[in-house]
Structures are given as C-alpha cells and as structure tokens.
Amino acid sequence: METLLMGAVAYDAKVVTIWDGFKQWFSANGLAFDYVLYSNYERQVEALLDGHVHVAWNSPLAWARAHRMAEARGIEVAAVAMRDTDCDLTSVVVVNAASGIEDLAGLAGRRVAVGAVDSPQATLIPLSYLRSEGLEPGQDFDLVHHQVGVGKHGDHIGGERDAARALVAGTVDAACMIDSNHLLFSAEGTLPPGSTRIIAQTPPYDHCNFTAAATAPAALLEHFRSLLLGMSYDDPEVRPLLDLEGLKAWRDGRVTGYAQLEAAVDESGFYDQEGHVAAVDYRP
C-alpha cells in the first residue's frame, strides 16, 4: 500500500508526539501516512523538491523557497492546508513605554532587536515593514539579532523572547515580535505589564502551510487534505493533537498572505529567484 510521506522540522521534542499522534489517527482513518523529521527547513524543502517526501509542513519562508525552486525547475508545488491560526497574523515593533520613542521615526540611530535571521515574524517581515516606512536596517538603526534555532525559521520562540528580554534589560531600544507573543510575553511577565508600547504593526500576513509536490499521489493527498479539514475540536480523540499543534480547525491552503514575506526575501536577498540560499552568514 502506498504511503503518504510528510516532512516536518524538529523545532521541539513535542514534534515527535504531534506527528506520531497524527500518524496513528490517519492510520485509524484509513490513510497510510508516515513522516520524516528534518533539523532545518532548508533540508526539508530540498527533500520535497527532490521527491523524498510528498508533502512538507512548511514555514512561510520554506514555502517562499519551495515555490521559487519549483518554478526554476518547471514544476509545481501547492499549499494544501493550513491552521486557522496561520491566517492574518501581524508583527509589532515594541519600545519601552518610558523611552520617549513615540513612533518609527524615533528609531533612527537606535538599536532594534529582532529574532533569528530566518524568522519571518520577528525579523524578515518587520524589517521589510520598517524599510517601507523609510528605515533601512543597519543604516538608519542598528540591528541586534537573537539567533536561537537558526534554520528553524523562527519556530523556536526563544529568539523573540530573548529580544523581549533585551528590551526590558535596556540593551536595545525596540524589539520586533509576532502580535500573539507580545500578548504572551506581557501576560507571563517577560514584559512587565504596561511597561511597553507598540509603535508599529505590520499588515496581516499568513504563516505555515502543508506544501505538496506535484509528484505527490493525488488520491492520497486528497485523502490527507479531507481528513485534516474534517478534524473537529469537538472530537476528544483529535483535540489533544490540535491543542499541541496550536489550532482549532484546519483550513484550505491559501497563498494570498505571503506578499510581505516575498518582498522581504527579495529586499534582503535571503533567497534568489531560483530559491538558492543567498543570505550571508545564514548557517542552518
């Protein structure tokens, strides 16, 4: 029996729990499914394009690379499904409330903390947004990276948390993070409540998707997609899996929410048009 093979990046030990659980559930629902773990998204995208796996649970940056590589090779990749929580995220630029920095212009000559070099939400997208507002990273302000989990495209929350801590410690003047992490860091006390102010928020963008290669067996892929979309938070059997993966419902994949990231990749030269890694000092 043919098996649908999925790639996932091991950004945390719980990834094994998650995909083992999904594997059992898919199997119980008639889909032969297995998964392969990669230590970084670059290896996973290359494996997808080389046909080692049929589908990849991709970060938005991995999607950006996958479709560039696919186009360069004259093949297709498609976004099959995504989480409800992957839709319409924003990133924010945060300063200390007492800093006197009232707006983005106030960042000129300052130190701005970001996450890992490959984090869409804590580095690439907010920096692109600052560029669009006339602030060139490294020229108009100093950039302070927090390189945690490089190669995992910001899945590891550590880089954003370190950036937040640097802001509290006063070693930087501003920090970039995803909106939900600003809420989390404030609620958990990493950012003392009321001590920070959001001075900018990016437009909404999308996050992860299941990226399928054109070579994926169509019937298996459709079975996979329909099972995902049929998972209900009402079902006590699947609820723990959904909780672990951070969603309430799966949605059809869409690629309309990646324009900001594509622009960021181009501006920063992270990948070239063929999907080659072009970022200097990026060692996944």
Partner: protein
C-alpha cells in the same frame, strides 16, 4: 438574531486578566450572537486580534478611535472541550472508569483523557459504607510519637527482662513493616474515586510507620542492640506481601494477622514491666483495633456482594498454611521472651506463671480469630479449623 452583547474591559488589558471577561462573554453568547468589545487599554486592539485567532473566533476590528475595539463572532470550538464530558459523581459509581483518572469524585471530566492504571475500580471489590466513618476516626486519633510517650519515664529492668523486651520489640517492628507494606502495595492500585478507602489505607500506612518508630525507640531505650530476626518469621510475612488479591490480602493481614495482634498487644500492655512498653503497646493497640474494624467491614461488604469469595478466603488460609508448613513459625526466642516478659523475673514460680499466661494468650488469639470468622459467615466448626491453621507467627 440577538443584538450584540457588550463587554467593557475599561482600562484592563488582555495581558492583565482582561481575557477572563472575554471568555465569559463568549461562553455566554447565544448561538450566532456577536460580542462587542470595548476598552481603553492601549494595546487592546492588537491583543484582541491575537487572542481571537488563538481561540478560534472571528473578529472584526473597529475602525478609528472610539471605545469599541471590535466585534467577536464566537467560533465553533467555543465550549467544545466540554462536549462529551462526564460527571464523576457525587454518588459512587459501581465501576469507576479508569479514564476518570485522578479527578475529584463529582468533578466533570473532559472526554478523551488517558487511562490510569487503577485496576481496583469495582465498588463491590473495594468499598464499604463504614470507610468514611473509620477514616474520620483515624484522622482524629493520630498521635505524635514525640509527645504521646513519656520517653523519660524510668526504665530500670533486670538485664534479662530488658533483653526479652528488646526481642519482642524487634519482632513487632518486623511485623509492622509487613503491615505497612501490604496496604501500601494496594494503595496506588485503588481508584481514587473510592477516596475514603484510599484515605483509610493511607492513614493505616502512616500508623504502621509510627508503630515501627515507637517500637524501635523502646527497643533502643536500654542501649542494647536489637534482637533476632528468623527465617521462619520472615517467610510467614512474605506470604502476606506476595498475595496479589486485595480481598485475600486484606483478610489475611487485617482480619487474621492484625486481629491476632490485638490480643498480643493487649497482653504486652497488661504485662509490660515498664511504663514506656505499656504506653507504646497501648497506642499501637488502638490503631490496630481500627485496622481490624476496617478489614472486617470491607470483607463483610465484599462477601455480601460475592459469597463465592468465602471458600476462596478459606482456601487462602490453607494455602498459606501449606506454604509455611516447613518453617518454624514463631521463633523460639520470641516465645521465650513473651514468657519472661509475662513472668517479670527468672524465678521458677514466676516463669511458670509467665508460661501459663502465654498459653492463655494463644487460646485468646484462637477464640478471637474464630469469633471474627464466624462474624464473616463461616460455620463455627469451619472457623475453628481455619483458625487452627493460622500462622504460628501470629501476623
């Protein structure tokens, strides 16, 4: 369609507990009803969008300044966690499902939980209506070894009598170790739904720990090393520890073993040559009487539900007797020590009295066992036969 419900967070941020108000408003919203969110916290709009995303709600953000931050349309996952949840009480279940796990009896248990390894989950196998009252008694009767015994009371005994006391205390500690280990082995296997039963056994374990302490302290009071531990005595106790069935183990330990010990401890209190020995035996006796009462109540309840258990319990006595047939039973040193203790001296006439008293003790023990067996529904003749097969090691 209902008009929007309005939730005003005032100045409270979602990073400061404001999510409680949103949770409450969303959970109370009628089907299809929108929740209008108002508030003045500076980051409310950013956080509201992030919160709704993580909770699976749709949100429409308000444009421009003003008190309204946005409108929440509760998602289908709202309250879904509690679909299919079960109430685990408050009345006792005939069989407590292992999926209820460690939940408080009466709690609402989310569906889909893991199965817990509580194989003793049948009410008929573990429960007795006497458990709550016995637990209350047990909790109220706890005593502190440091203050319940006057450890400075004068203990100036003849060397030989002191040696007999040390030997008896050594034997008691060994037996109390068994009486601690047996309920402890079952404690973690009984479903917490039957919490009063678990509580009685937990206190019983703590009781035995105190007995081990006070008997050890009494043994050491005269500065002598502890006494002898024999192969036969330990073999007898091992059969208790190895019994896998809760009802059988409880029967052998509490009804027969601890039941027999009531007479022994009473005998020791009565004939103790010093106030410390008398006191520690008195304290242990009160606890052991409670353990026996619980054992009797539990076995009576189990036998009522399953009369077929009666011959199995009898068979267990036979089996234990056969297993111990090749062992010495009560060690000579303990028997002799009891005689010396009851005699109070090595004078021939006193020893004769002591010997007679120990013989009377054996008769009392046998009568007590027979009485308890008859109370559990055995014919007096069968009770007499079974009592005679009880281990010579007493416990």
């Amino acid at each position: 369609m209902s008009p929007p419900s309005i939730t005003d967070l005032d100045e409270l941020g979602l990073d400061q507990g404001g999510h409680l108000l949103l949770h409450r408003a969303v959970s109370r919203a009628a089907p299809g009803q929108v929740v209008e969110v108002r508030g003045r916290a500076p980051q409310l709009r950013v956080h509201l969008a992030a919160w709704c995303r993580s909770e699976g709600h749709e949100v429409e953000m308000a444009e421009g300044p003003g008190p309204v931050a946005g409108w929440i349309r509760p998602g289908p996952a709202t309250g879904a966690r509690w679909h299919g949840a079960e109430r685990s009480g408050p009345e006792l279940a005939e069989r407590a499902p292992t999926r209820w796990g460690l939940a408080a009896r009466g709690a609402t248990v989310e569906a889909g939980g893991v199965e817990f390894p509580f194989p003793l989950n049948d009410r008929a196998a573990v429960w007795t209506d006497a458990a709550p009252a016995i637990y209350r008694q047990a909790a109220a009767a706890q005593w502190d070894p440091a203050t319940a015994v006057d450890w400075n009371a004068p203990v100036e005994l003849d060397d030989d009598v002191e040696a007999a006391i040390v030997q008896v205390m050594t034997y008691l500690v060994e037996n109390e170790n068994a009486a601690l280990a047996v309920p402890a082995r079952f404690l973690g296997r009984i479903h917490p739904h039957f919490r009063e039963v678990v509580a009685v056994l937990a206190v019983q374990v703590a009781d035995e720990a105190r007995h081990v302490e006070v008997f050890t302290r009494r043994a050491e009071l005269g500065g002598r090393p502890l006494g002898l531990s024999t192969v036969g005595g330990q073999a007898s106790l091992l059969t208790l520890l190895e019994e896998p069935d809760f009802a059988v183990a409880h029967f052998l330990l509490s009804v027969l073993g601890e039941g027999t010990f009531l007479h022994l401890l009473s005998f020791l209190e009565r004939h103790a040559p010093d106030p410390v020995t008398a006191r520690v035996c008195h304290l242990a006796l009160a606890d052991e009487a409670r353990h026996v009462a619980f054992g009797m109540a539990h076995l009576a309840a189990v036998l009522e539900a399953d009369p077929g258990l009666r011959p199995r319990l009898a068979a267990a006595i036979h089996q234990r007797h056969d297993a111990l047939a090749q062992t010495a039973g009560l060690n000579r040193e303990v028997f002799d020590a009891l005689v010396v203790l009851a005699a109070g001296s090595w004078a021939p006439a006193a020893l004769g009295d002591g010997f007679r008293r120990v013989q009377e003790l054996s008769v009392e023990m046998d009568e007590g066992r027979r009485r308890r067996l008859v109370k559990l529904g055995y014919h007096p003749e069968e009770a007499a036969a079974l009592s005679s097969l009880h281990t010579r090691n007493f416990m």
